[in-house]
Symmetry: D2
Subunit: 358 residues, 4 copies
């Protein structure tokens, strides 16, 4: 199986293809009797929707899910919760002509081999970013359950191309900051970065090109003692879940790769007692020691590669004819998916965190 | 459960505590009738053993495993293969005095909370690097099975502190290079880095400090089409397995975080036909598109934090008395675990890759 | 999780509640490129539909599923296949008045405790026999894939109350018999049992009562060597799957409980060579030795308890008021669900068998 | 994988072969800080040991396990608990001469096909009843943890051949009865059955034959609300676990197959209030409704086939030469394994029940 993740007692499936009838999710193992606000779910999902001003794709997505099961009188029933999102806006013709040309950076060729010619190639099929809609739905559900336990998560655009936002304060990031950043048009801590990033994206678009970036994610309120060593720790579950978001090519916790060039005395976070609570003065560990939360903010960053669909002509192959070719990708493509990746990464975190409480 | 990983039809458990009777592994789901050379397993495991010249710890480990099941007349039986490695060299007294002081960067405190005071704290217990011995055993077994399918994996020290090795050539790295790098005392591509790295480690030791680094790993011979999108892709399984190695704080595939600052036209790997084979001219994707191998070398890097055990005095807390304290860690500690992490990361990769063939 | 089963590389979820918007299934891990006939799926599902002549319930079910994913141009894509079946014929009012009275033999009370008051009690909610519709869909899909590998499965009514059919010939049952029995109005080997069974059901209905029975299931064409000892054998997977069908209270393989009163010399199936094939003269083992198929027909029987919903007045409790009560169940109920259980058990077998080929 | 069972957060592996160095188990997911009495574990395991008077095999087993991990200062650590039991008493020569003759009723042939000639055939290898020793160890551990939660389980010999014991009183069976039956030489409720059963076994032995039987198992103190509908209910988990015990060919819960011939009004258990508790007047359901416990005693029975190893000459095949043959099984074999199966079935129940509390 590839579309189902088992995290302890929580199982999440996402299904669907970009140009099939619908995408959706089954979330199995949720606690019963927990209130869910559909408005909040829609708000969360709308953060993934494309921006109208062109910081994102022009497609008009109507991603309102229909809940088919597991939800009754405003509460979870404890049974599998299935939600389905119809694909209303299909333009297969944009894609059909290129179906045997491997778009560089896409999974056309690898999917073709993996599924022995039989996968649905239209619009990327199951590989499409469209599949993040049900993932975000599942994350939005988990988000509300976590919030009732005092756990708040949020992500922001850490960088787009060479334009950088301020990072979360790894020691003092608070609920207010996390709640605020979600409301911003571009989820940024330093609002002055907004203009710089838009300009960088505009420039990429004008050049028929695209840009990558980094998404940073934080969780506050995770009590110490959540997780496990070895195979089932926070890093294991979070990374396993986060890599379900297409275009993610790396993940680092705390200061991550920077730790590699430090001395132990620089990297170690010293403990101290703060009003009877055990805290650390720094948080290079990103709140995780031995796979287990230490009560400090949980922090990680993920690398998002540039949108592989670009308008520029590219060399490639026809994987059916097995010959060299040139491809010019038509259709409407997002020159930078980083803003839309933000709620996806946050959703993946929510799923991974919630699994420890199911 | 925390010590068991389920990857498709392959399940691997590692068990044991640093100062308990033994550590070990159960590998369940291997194909039957595959020859295994015990000598090759021991060779692999000896790469994890500490170096006598002080690039690593002074502990004299005798890590020869005893195979209890699943192996008969030189071949796998197809049943669960259990191997046990005795803990012969226990010096609990080195650790016992510090058992209620949280060593910064260690899981003493988080394990204490997670297991409600009941975990075996001696020598790090289950959190100890000692647990990588059975992991490496499992990886060594998988390595031989992969090799028979034409898949070779290897890792090397990409950096220690600020000293860097050359990276693998992501397009042209071959079996010879992978086989060669394993035989080197310090697993390096550029042998001139050996002296620089030793000097950096020596300096850290003299300063009662430690150093981190980066391990790079490659696999060649992975056919196109291995893996899956969404939750069960190569990145998902590899990262889930790799984060079982203590001290790993980040992972990136292909050019990883560097992709975040590139344009799509720079990051996309163009396809071409090379003697009837589909290849890419660059390999920024690290051989993975949509969670599925594309036939190019599989490349990733992991960040290894500096050894948290340092001889310098550090501020910390006594987590039983709940008061501030100062800790001076005694005993013999490795100022840089990066060389020993190399076969561990390689082992994790082997397990993750082999899971697709079980 | 409760609604998702993981069998090796195959995962099947069923979701939905009796009076919610829909029920459905996600089947993840199917091989790609396998043709599926929707007509055959509908035929299979129609065997589960209620009989118009009153051997079953009067509800008019329209159980035609909509496939949302994993199926393209007549073939499986290899991605998760989701099918949804709308609940069109809801009569909640029949049930709502009894919602705090525990119907004897039903899960009203246990579900109430398990889900802490929050499950959807209408029409049995997730406990309803309605949930077997998506299970049968999944089994119908697997059935076609198995058939292409030469494996045919079928079930029949072994008994209803004290009226018995002939059992499958455990040694010589062939494809023709299996294919024939499925086409019969009541799936019986001995067609003379039809009248006797209808009479028994009629009598139960007239008495405001219900009847149980036994369903026998067979598979031919399963090659020797499928399965595993210990936890993952044919008996383990089949029983785990079969007990998902409500009302099943027992399962026995081969001669099952009869073996308990036999001598070893009577029970052992002697092997012999039949035209170069290894066969057994008897098949008391039901085709399974050590959890693994031996190439003989696979045979098992399941006990189906009488429909718990009966029109007779019954003593019970109000589990909210915590007081004794009397219940008279209204609405249209099936006096004998055994005929409709037949394709459900067959479906469960198909899922369990198919899992070894995913 | 075949030797690892995942039940929610609990994972249990059993490994080993009859004539290999050792058998053992890894139990992963236990709660931390729970006291375990080794004496009680040994007492439990000794119930599985062969009887000296010949009601069982003459082999002198020394099944004292060595705990390698997960247990410290008398308590569970919360990490994987591994126990190893050495195989001290191997008589391969008894078996080696018959290694290419399929013993009727054994898995020699199916294992040979399944593992492509490579499994360890000596003494049944992984298929041997020897593998129940680690299973019983795991069950004995779970038994103590359940007992602290007020849950007591026990099994008894319900029948051997045609000789029957009294069954558990499904409504009123209490802790005293369960604790008492375990202490009896043959675990029987009606002690007068002892002599009859021994006589039946003696007769079978004299005839170079063997006998099967039925084991009945009960649990009291299971609170209402444990379990789940569909795939993860009590029947699913218990049957999946119980079928790991070799020779089990059937399982029925409550009155099981008898329910098939009853009317609903006979089979339904009426609820009533007994001193503010909800109970049922009968317990035909065996304490389970919709896969979930209802607070009444949990009752099930399993069919144990006669020992397949009998001294009588039997027709069979040589599965390497592919020709007919006659086999006379030498060595010391147990004419009736039912007494020794009793603690095995009980152990399987304990594992399945404990999984809901991990």
């Amino acid at each position: 199986m590839s579309s189902t993740i088992n995290l302890g007692n929580l199982s999440v499936s996402v299904f669907g293809e970009s140009h099939g009838p619908a995408v959706g999710t089954v979330i199995d193992g949720l606690p019963s009797g927990r209130e869910l606000s559909l408005d909040k779910i829609y708000d969360f999902m709308s953060r993934r929707a494309p921006k109208k001003d062109g910081t994102s794709t022009f497609r008009n997505e109507k991603d309102m899910p229909e809940i088919l099961s597991g939800f009754y009188k405003g509460k979870t029933t404890g049974e599998a919760l299935c939600a389905v999102i119809r694909n209303n806006d299909r333009h297969s013709s944009d894609y059909e002509s290129i179906s045997s040309l491997a778009r560089p950076g896409h999974a056309d060729y690898t999917g073709y081999v993996r599924y022995n010619r039989s996968n649905d190639l239209r619009g990327g099929g199951h590989f499409s970013g469209r599949l993040t809609a049900p993932l975000v739905f599942a994350g939005a559900v988990c988000s509300q359950l976590l919030e009732k336990m005092g756990i708040i998560t949020a992500a922001h655009i850490y960088s787009i191309g060479n334009e950088k936002d301020t990072g979360f304060d790894p020691v003092n990031v608070g609920r207010d900051m996390l709640n605020t950043v979600k409301t911003r048009y571009l989820p940024l801590i330093d609002e002055t970065a907004d203009e710089r990033m838009r300009a960088a994206i505009d420039k990429a678009r004008e050049n028929k090109d695209s840009l990558g970036g980094i998404v940073e994610c934080a969780a506050v309120g995770v009590p110490a003692g959540i997780g496990s060593p070895t195979f089932d720790g926070l890093e294991n579950r979070i990374s396993q879940t986060v890599f379900s978001v297409p275009a993610v090519k790396g993940i680092e916790f705390g200061i991550g790769f920077e730790a590699a060039s430090l001395y132990g005395s620089q990297n170690n976070d010293e403990f101290y007692i703060d009003d009877k609570c055990i805290k650390t003065r720094t948080n290079n560990a990103g709140g995780i020691l031995g796979g287990i939360s230490n009560g400090m903010p949980l922090i990680f960053r993920t690398a998002i590669k540039p949108t592989p669909s670009i308008a520029k002509a590219q060399n490639t192959v026809d994987f059916i004819k097995n010959e060299n070719a040139v491809i010019e990708i038509k259709g409407r493509h997002d020159p930078c998916i980083v803003p839309r990746a933000v709620p996806c990464i946050e959703a993946a975190l929510n799923i991974a965190l919630m699994s420890y409480f199911c």
